[in-house]
């Protein structure tokens, strides 16, 4: 018997070659986030990772740290980021949305109230980078009840943990390309490919690779070896440069610049 599809799976139009961009909600302003999200969808994004800014993001490098600071200064919070999702839909965003947040804001929101809010606002997925398998039991149960995917991560150090994590993975499995925090990497380590292979052996959901992907060459490599690729810091950088263009031109020109750059980054 076929397993019933989750909301997230139902919205995915393919199982391979998934382009998953990450942006920080409210960077530099909530209205802007909507514009960038739409442009990313136009450029072929299959899932949107909507990052919630956090004061002390342990898994993030300087680029996303700075974006988080800009967004926090603009008044963004977990609550507001979740409530932004219906506005994204209204503006025309159809792809599934995964809320990416550190755990402490979730804890303050309250597990039950938070998962209810995700459901009410039509969020399909949740990713918490500092909540490993061992600490995620309660949220795992609660998200399942509401048909929301709790996305898991595997890292190059995971080794014996890979099987355990991959077998219960939902939505897609986030494969951390290499040691370290988010940020561009000039080159992908050769071990990355064998690591991806190993993860794919155990995973029944698409395996998407993130951390460091910042060039078209790397995108091509991931197209070949993984089911998808996640781009964070590089997209945030493109937002920064589109804001620069905007300063000397107008808003549309900034957005056009952003689209061009994204298209170039992910072109086949």
């Amino acid at each position: 018997m076929m397993k019933q599809q989750t909301l997230f799976q139902g919205k995915l139009t393919k199982q391979k070659d998934l382009f998953i961009p990450f942006i920080v909600a409210g960077d530099p302003h909530p209205d802007k986030t909507i514009q960038y999200a739409l442009r990313l969808q136009e450029a072929g994004a299959d899932v949107l990772e909507l990052g919630v800014p956090y004061s002390d993001p342990l898994a993030d490098g300087p680029v996303i740290q700075k974006a988080a600071r800009r967004a926090l200064d603009a008044g963004m919070s977990l609550r507001k980021a979740v409530e932004m999702v219906p506005e994204l839909r209204k503006a025309g965003l159809n792809i599934p949305v995964v809320i990416f947040t550190y755990y402490n804001p979730v804890l303050q929101y309250g597990h039950e109230a938070f998962i209810d809010a995700l459901e009410e606002n039509g969020v399909e997925g949740l990713l918490i980078p500092d909540l490993p398998l061992e600490e995620s039991e309660d949220l795992n149960e609660r998200t399942k009840e509401k048909d929301i995917e709790l996305i898991s991560l595997v890292a190059p150090t995971s080794e014996e943990r890979i099987k355990r994590i991959a077998e219960q993975a939902r939505g897609f499995l986030y494969c951390v390309s290499s040691l370290g925090v988010t940020g561009e990497r000039k080159e992908m380590a050769p071990e990355t490919l064998s690591f991806i292979e190993k993860v794919k052996e155990h995973s029944s959901v698409p395996v998407a690779v993130g951390f460091g992907i910042s060039s078209n060459d790397q995108v091509q490599l991931m197209r070949k070896h993984a089911d998808g690729f996640i781009i964070g810091s590089k997209i945030v950088k493109l937002i920064e440069s589109s804001l620069e263009v905007e300063k000397s031109g107008d808003e549309q020109e900034g957005l056009r610049h952003f689209s061009d750059e994204v298209n170039e980054l992910v072109q086949a």
Partner: protein
Amino acid sequence: MLTSMPNHKGRYGDFGGKYVPETLMAPLEELESALDEAMQDEDFLKQYNEELKEYAGRPTPLTYADKLTKELGGAEIYLKREDLLHTGAHKLNNAIGQALLAKRMGKDKIIAETGAGQHGVASATVAAKLGLSCKVFMGEEDIRRQELNVFRMKLLGAEVISVSSGNGTLKDATNEAIRYWVANCEDHFYLIGSVVGPHPYPRMVRNFQRIIGDETKEQMTRDIDRIYACVGGGSNAIGMFYPFLEDEVELVGIEAAGKGVDTPEHAATLTKGTPGVIHGSLTYLMQDENGQIVEPYSISAGLDYPGIGPEHANLFKTKRVRYESITDDEALDAVKRMSRAEGIIPAIESAHAIAQAIKEAKEMSKDQAIVINVSGRGDKDMATLMEHFTEEGLQ
């Protein structure tokens, strides 16, 4: 039983755990099994105890503060003299333990975070002694106010990395140390300086610091009524308290009230904070209603931290330990008073414990006795003290 905590998941009651990126889960598991093996190994324990004795100068004395006792006219006051330990603070007990473990695990590169610079100095010291390389992450503001310790670390051969995010204090240094560790966990050992961080760090650091309380118990020739210790992350306090948890002794931890707990400028985590996750552990912390961490403040770099060890969170919740807070001004007064009464210049951190003890000792009867953990000496604080005590202030 409080002494049997944490459980296998690293929980002290509701608190503790491992809230870290997946990349760090395997290194933490590796650390835990290496630690458990080492602590069962007679040779390892013998080496640790020998270094404490022959190198660090343990046992530290328990000094009867006769003049201060007389001046206050209340309980007898005893001082546990961690200020006399090599490098000038209790931090070395833990640094020796962890560095020996690092070596046993075959990791010859250590990283550390530091606030007051005492843990940085302790780490740089053992790194020199054991032939390890050492990188110390330190906030920009702390580099300014603990200049002397920065120079000591460099003289000892360590690399000091300046951290400018946040307020440039201990929280930010810890963030950056963790980020560096995530990128380099395969061959680096992260030597945490207090009973904070993900399991098994709080347990490990406590066990390397409990020597303070164990010695005190042995040295004390009469009953103790109360014990005082300052609390930043909480390592000197838990080291002192842990062996007494099942005894009939009142335990008092003192946090930094900065400019006052009713101002935004303090570091009184238990007095004013709420449960949350910081640096991989569920504990109390200073945060806003959206769960963003709030920047703390204290004149004392070692207490200027928005979190606290998870074991303290549980001792607070179960009311086994009473937590109080002391302002900058009260701590500075206590530095001066202890200097003049006993000829001991304490660290400003330790002076928080002294200030609370002074308040309470005079209300106690003459046949009672208290112990204050003097976690460190004041040499490192001379620049700060000179800013605050003008010539008139010293009259």
